[in-house]
């Protein structure tokens, strides 16, 4: 069934979009990532203009995150205190990110900048997660070896302004979560994504949060970051396509519910290995685009650069 999208101004197959939303929603519910880093490139691929893809992708992520958080909420997987602290940092980082993004746009290399940050950050995080989770998976198979503590005390725990994060079972300074939030907000603004794929490993490895609450808390703060992005895009460039978003959402919310149920059956290490493989795959795909000679060297964009 072909459907003409009013803002994107392209005709697409409605079932294809529903399917795309479903797949991304499934991954989103399973791993606690918003899925922005998947949905945006996929929309480019089916011919939706980049600006519309980024803005509408953000809107879709709001829906799948709401759905995912509600699913996590029932199993007490959301640390609201931590969520709010991360969010405060996130808005600060996001404001800085928007400013840097504008600087890069003026320099005319924003595409490259975005692609390189995808390759570098996705590649690094994916590799780190893969290595760590593989090691802990192997360890868990071998009985008799000492069980590692969930987190190691380091200089991070000597910082002032300590706060109790009950759901996470942590008593740490607010400075690290604020900094993590700011870093994620900064990257999210630059890369046009919710930032879950950075947030999840940062919460596990930097803050030492238990995997059980990581996904819900990550989704919780992604709702706000992407809601903010959606409204900003709607206001400044009118690039949110409601019809496209609705189709993606319908597929996505169903996918997210299934995904979070599948996720509950998997072990934390398996979940992390799968997420790291996914992140590495996306990173590799973008790296190939940068390295392989493109079939068409020229590209055409309507309108002039700002």
């Amino acid at each position: 069934m072909q459907l003409y999208l009013p803002i994107a101004e392209v005709s697409v197959n409605a079932f294809l979009i529903l399917g795309l939303g479903g797949i991304v929603g499934f991954l989103s519910g399973m791993f606690g990532v918003g899925g922005g880093f998947l949905i945006t490139p996929l929309l480019f691929f089916i011919g939706v203009p980049p600006a519309v893809a980024v803005a509408t992708g953000a809107n879709q992520v709001v829906a799948s995150s709401v759905s995912g958080v509600l699913a996590q909420l029932r199993r007490k997987g959301v640390d609201f205190t931590m969520g709010w602290v991360l969010l405060v940092g996130g808005f600060v980082g996001s404001a800085i990110g928007v400013w840097v993004f504008r600087l890069m746009t003026e320099a005319g290399q924003v595409d490259l900048f975005v692609q390189l940050s995808y390759v570098i950050f996705l590649g690094l995080i994916g590799a780190m997660m893969f290595q760590e989770s593989l090691r802990s998976l192997l360890r868990s198979r071998k009985p008799g070896t000492p069980i590692r503590r969930s987190h190691v005390h380091s200089w991070v725990h000597g910082l002032p302004f300590k706060m109790k994060f009950r759901a996470s079972g942590l008593y740490i300074s607010v400075i690290p979560p604020l900094a993590v939030g700011a870093l994620v907000g900064f990257l999210a603004a630059i890369m046009g994504v919710g930032g879950g794929f950075i947030m999840v490993p940062a919460m596990i490895y930097l803050l030492g949060m238990p995997t059980k609450v990581v996904i819900g808390t990550s989704l919780f703060q992604i709702i706000f970051v992407t809601a903010f992005t959606t409204v900003m895009h709607a206001l400044t460039s009118q690039t949110v396509d409601m019809l496209l978003a609705l189709l993606l959402i319908l597929g996505g919310v169903v996918g997210a519910q299934i995904g979070s149920r599948v996720g509950m059956r998997l072990k934390a290490e398996q979940l992390r290995i799968l997420l790291s493989l996914l992140v590495l795959a996306v990173s590799g795909r973008i790296a190939i685009d940068l390295l392989v000679t493109p079939g068409e060297l020229y590209s055409v964009a309507p309108g002039v650069l700002p």
Binding site: T230, A234, M242, Y298, V300, A301
Partner: protein, 260 residues
């Protein structure tokens, strides 16, 4: 066939109706199967029949060359940026760009024969018939090396997208009087006024021309969403969020019902 019926009706009109055309000249009487296209939610492209007849007061001149017809359809023009990727330090990145002042979002040229046989360069320049002549790119030479290649790339990319079409030999001309052609408008159509131009040619020169307009507009739901996005952006943005949140909650609630 609609086309055949229209042609018959036209022939009849011509036989009865026209008594006093300008002396010794040939003129175009043209019509279209529709002069407005509505983009609705299920819009999947549209085919427009453009037909016409040559009106003359005297018999067709014997010494002049063969009669030829060119029909062009031009969508609304916008400025475009054409970028070229180069390999810098092993990475392909946008390294050069050219801003084209105005390029149509859609352009189709249908003719009765090969363009270079029926149209001279001077006439092409004067009437801006081929796509190369329609694109306005003044002063691009200063923006990049080999700026001409950017224009060729623009033509190539948009031809591959089906936005630019050259339909040589796709105008049917019968008895040097009646002509018709079908132009397919693609599904990814931009809103606006589509200019239809018809040219009569002899000896590679334009002897008569005419212009018509097809209005392409979004209708219904498409119109409503587009208008709200542009006129009430804040409300539109917030509404998108509410829809997203409701859908998220709805799916969650529904799945809980199924499980319990």
């Amino acid at each position: 066939m609609i086309g055949a019926r229209v042609l018959r009706a036209l022939a009849l009109t011509l036989a009865v109706g026209f008594g006093v055309p300008a002396a010794g000249q040939e003129q175009i009487v043209a019509g279209m199967s529709q002069n407005r296209v509505s983009i609705t939610a299920d819009f999947d492209g549209s085919e427009i029949l453009i037909y016409g007849a040559v009106k003359r007061d005297a018999p067709a001149p014997q010494d002049a060359g063969q009669l030829e017809v060119i029909v062009t359809v031009e969508g609304p023009a916008t400025p475009v940026t054409v970028r070229r990727k180069d390999r810098v330090a092993g990475i392909w990145l946008n390294n050069a760009q050219v801003r084209v002042d105005s390029a149509p979002s859609f352009y189709a040229v249908a003719t009765t024969g090969p363009l270079r046989h029926i149209l001279s360069d001077t006439e092409n320049l004067r009437h801006a018939i081929t796509i190369e002549r329609v694109i306005r790119a003044i002063g691009i030479a200063s923006e990049a090396d080999k700026a001409g290649e950017f224009i060729l790339a623009l033509l190539r990319v948009r031809t591959n997208e089906g936005r630019y079409r050259i339909l040589e030999g796709k105008v049917e001309l019968s008895e040097d009087t009646l002509f018709r052609t079908d132009i397919v408008l693609p599904a990814n159509l931009t809103e606006g006024e589509y200019k239809v131009r018809l040219f009569l040619l002899r000896d590679r020169k334009v002897v008569a021309s005419q212009e018509r307009v097809i209005g392409v507009r979004k209708e219904g739901l498409e119109r409503f969403i587009f208008n709200m996005a542009h006129e009430q952006p804040l409300i539109y943005g917030l509404l998108s969020l509410v829809l997203a949140a409701l859908a998220g909650w709805g799916a969650s609630a529904m799945f809980r019902l199924i499980r319990v």
